[in-house]
Symmetry: C2
Subunit: 346 residues, 2 copies
């Protein structure tokens, strides 16, 4: 770890949003003497407020598959992450942890049902485990078999076992994904990286909690990444149409099944979709072209930025951790300044 230049905070802390109190069957408990209720589906939120805030709305980051809010903290090779950088840039900065991961916890009931013999072993919720091969492919580092990164790869490859002083520090932030345990929505079935789509406004645990958070903050810019890339849009469609002030979808979350009612909401919210380099398919994808045409055709404001197309080359799927992560952050901040209304109450 490296010391950073001093950072003065007006406040810091954490809290929860959402959550349901459920009774759990006594025989599912390891301590049957303690029959009672448990909490599930709550979402953990961590925040810091800079001493000198800018006039923008607060920004909320949500991580992707098999990761936690660690995504936005210190990079695997020890550099400053976006949580600190956006704070230094004057944003009230929040990190929301997906329900089913990290400090948000998960619903243990289905596992316990199998233990108790009330359900067959095949009813254990699927735990999504991201292997090193998964990471090389989905995070677009290069060729897994030969461990050859793409030319000019910006990810700190020494943290995934390539190059001098190679280690595995990146993999330590990859943890099992328990989204399949959740009650509110089936986890998308993402075998092989291809997910079965969920309707834009279907009940969905983490987006619903993001909507609650946005309303509680009375205005926020929501950022999703990868697995959660569609969640800011879902939050806007799930009860936070008036308080989601900006939508930022990092790789990628474009919808092809928006209705007229959805577009009526989304055309009022500035939307940024951003992708990195080394995609095997042309960018923007047909889904993103469709969504942009629908939104902008209705008078909305959706921007698609491919980093290599604006001269920033070599970025992986994890550009918040790439060696040029602060340069990429600046592209986002510039977009916010140009597209998102300022907080007049600020």
């Amino acid at each position: 770890m490296k010391a950073s230049p001093p950072l003065t905070l007006q406040g810091q802390g954490s809290f929860f949003v959402g959550g349901d109190v459920e009774k759990i069957k006594t025989e599912y408990l390891t301590s049957p003497d303690y029959a009672g209720k448990i909490m599930t589906d709550q979402m953990y939120v961590q925040f810091q407020l800079p001493e000198k805030t800018n006039k923008q709305f607060p920004i909320v980051f949500m991580h992707g598959c098999c990761l936690t809010s660690k995504t936005w903290e210190t990079t695997p090779d020890g550099r400053m992450g976006w949580y600190e950088y956006f704070t230094r840039k004057g944003f009230k900065t929040f990190m929301a942890e997906q329900v089913g991961r990290g400090r948000s916890g998960f619903d243990p009931t289905r596992f316990a049902r199998v233990n108790a013999g009330d359900a067959p072993n095949t009813d254990n919720p699927n735990i999504l485990v991201a292997t090193d091969r998964f990471a090389w492919n989905v995070f677009r580092w290069g060729d897994y078999e030969t461990k050859t990164p793409y030319p000019g790869q910006r990810f700190p490859m020494q943290t995934v076992g390539v190059g001098e002083n190679a280690g595995y520090s990146f993999y330590k932030q990859v943890i099992p994904d328990l989204n399949a345990t959740l009650s509110d929505a089936a986890s998308p079935d993402c075998n092989g990286g291809t997910c079965t789509p969920i309707e834009p406004d279907a009940p969905y645990n983490s987006p619903d909690n993001l909507a609650r958070l946005s309303n509680q903050l009375d205005g926020a810019i929501l950022v999703g990444h990868s697995q959660s890339s569609s969640f800011p849009t879902r939050a806007a469609l799930r009860g936070a149409a008036k308080t989601v002030k900006g939508i930022i979808q990092l790789e990628t979350g474009c919808f092809t099944n928006l209705t007229a009612d959805h577009i009526k909401i989304l055309k009022k919210i500035p939307i940024l979709i951003m992708v990195g380099d080394n995609y095997t398919v042309p960018q923007p994808t047909p889904a993103c072209v469709t969504m942009r045409d629908q939104i902008n055709g209705a008078g909305g404001d959706m921007t698609f930025i491919s980093l290599p197309a604006i001269g920033i080359k070599g970025n992986s799927h994890m550009f918040m951790q790439d060696t040029n992560n602060l340069e990429v952050a600046d592209v986002i901040i510039d977009w916010i300044k140009q597209h998102v209304a300022k907080d007049r109450r600020g």
Copy 2:
């Protein structure tokens, strides 16, 4: 959430300690196309460094059962927690998350083995779930059936559904405990709150990682609570004898089976055991009396503080969140000043 007075940090961030790279059987993966290796048993550590540090060694907090590092952050009713308070008091402050919880992740292999039909359903690792009844009893709030807190109860009971504006915000930080999935050590079998003891120097995942952290910091004061209360002592006995500079065990972690070799190590390290109010058994317990006699009889420095015995009444098991949590923190800081050597390199 409340804004606090400004806090200036010299640095902040997070990193991991420990971890093993394992190959996972392809049939255990939800994405069989991504056969490869996974990381398990790593420990997530979050830290902040005050601009003006005191001369004490860094302090490391580890939470208890069914909780995460959230334990030390903002209290359920929105007051300052110990993570921020110790930083404000000049400590380089670290929070280490138990392996099997939160951002440290867990080992999914045994669940996957059951899913694949390679093991019977009863082989699912037990998930320890803390119900509301568990919390009322183990955290010593009062009578669960009538929801009557002990007189003078210091825990913010409005966060557990008692009193005006009652909610359930405390329970949101209670998440399922996956320690039983870990590879290095069997989790203590704690049915009904009575745990089968593990030898003081047995291989044990989180204490081993605490030892690594202490060595990496080249000197640290380790704080354990409840389930982890014995972990600082275990860390000292598991390879960090020279770098553990102070041991603080909050409720309680006393050993009755220390050998002469253990005592030779522990007599060189100042030890504080601290308990709150409303215990049904006299304090110190025979185990703590035995340990204190052994350590101090050998020329060591072990202190036992019962808060009510020094005039601080009404504290629950969760005194880092009680309404007088900063007063309790000051008792600990005073003990550190009086007993723990200062960091001459500071």
